[in-house]
């Protein structure tokens, strides 16, 4: 699916990456533990998380994750937005909870890398 569809399905607010909305992504991962993202994410291009700090952006950078979704209405800081812009990473925030967000995206065809 396109990143644009993710933002529409989750009714999300976009912070960075307007120009990347037409990019196709296939796999997602959800986790609050960056150590687990580094250990277990495979080819997931989308990360849903409730954790908000600059290391989330850096973890995404190392794992080639191109789209970050903050759940439960969490908002990125200015510093995070700058880091993400420099690395061409899309950041969006949804008011929906983690489980709901994952369910919506999975139903719409976004899969886990191990499926």
């Amino acid at each position: 699916m396109k990143i644009r569809e993710i933002s529409q399905l989750l009714d999300a607010k976009l912070y960075t990456g307007e120009e990347m909305l037409d990019r196709e992504v296939h796999n997602g991962f959800s986790c609050d533990l960056m150590s687990d993202v580094l250990a277990y994410a495979e080819n997931e291009a989308v990360l849903l998380t409730g954790l908000v700090n600059p290391q989330v952006i850096r973890t995404a950078e190392m794992m080639d994750i191109v789209c970050l979704v903050f759940v439960r209405g969490k908002e990125p800081t200015e510093a995070m937005i700058k880091l993400a812009e420099e690395r061409s990473i899309v950041i969006m925030s949804t008011d929906k909870r983690m489980f709901t967000s994952c369910g919506i995206l999975h139903d719409a065809g976004l899969k886990s890398g191990d499926e």
Partner: protein, 139 residues
């Protein structure tokens, strides 16, 4: 051909800066045209080591040697050292504080991850003096 050498100082004062060195190495490897899988392995392993220097060892120094057939990363710190390396290598073993855990790290997956993503790993450590971790990834 002489390897390309990159040197970084890792500061422990600013957690948000942890990963700056690994990000720079990732960018450099990309611009040199290394395969994406090699770049991913080097940058994740180095990032874990960089985070460890910040959360466990008050920062340190990282030297990266880039050759066409191998990327070698050496992380040196003068932190507290690791009393039991076998234990530290176990998945899930961590002495990280609750504060560090709240930031998304300290799940005890760092060293096992480094082992998983590299072809060579050597840890020299002296309690009270510091730790030197050398790793390499073959291209």
């Amino acid at each position: 051909m002489e390897p390309m050498i990159l040197e970084y100082t890792v500061s422990a004062d600013d957690f948000s800066g942890a990963g700056e060195a690994s990000g720079d190495v990732k960018k450099t490897l990309k611009s040199l045209g290394f395969p994406p899988e090699v770049i991913r392995r080097v940058s994740v392993a180095m990032y874990e080591a960089e985070i460890n220097m910040v959360i466990h060892a008050r920062g340190g120094k990282i030297t990266v040697e880039i050759s066409p057939d191998e990327i070698r990363v050496c992380c040196e710190d003068v932190g507290p050292g690791i009393p039991d390396i076998d234990l530290a290598m176990q998945e899930g073993w961590s002495t990280a504080s609750d504060k560090v855990r709240g930031l998304g790290f300290g799940a005890g997956m760092g060293l096992p991850n480094i082992k998983k993503y590299t072809d060579y790993l050597d840890i020299k450590t002296v309690v009270g003096q510091g730790t030197t971790l050398t790793m390499s990834v073959a291209v």
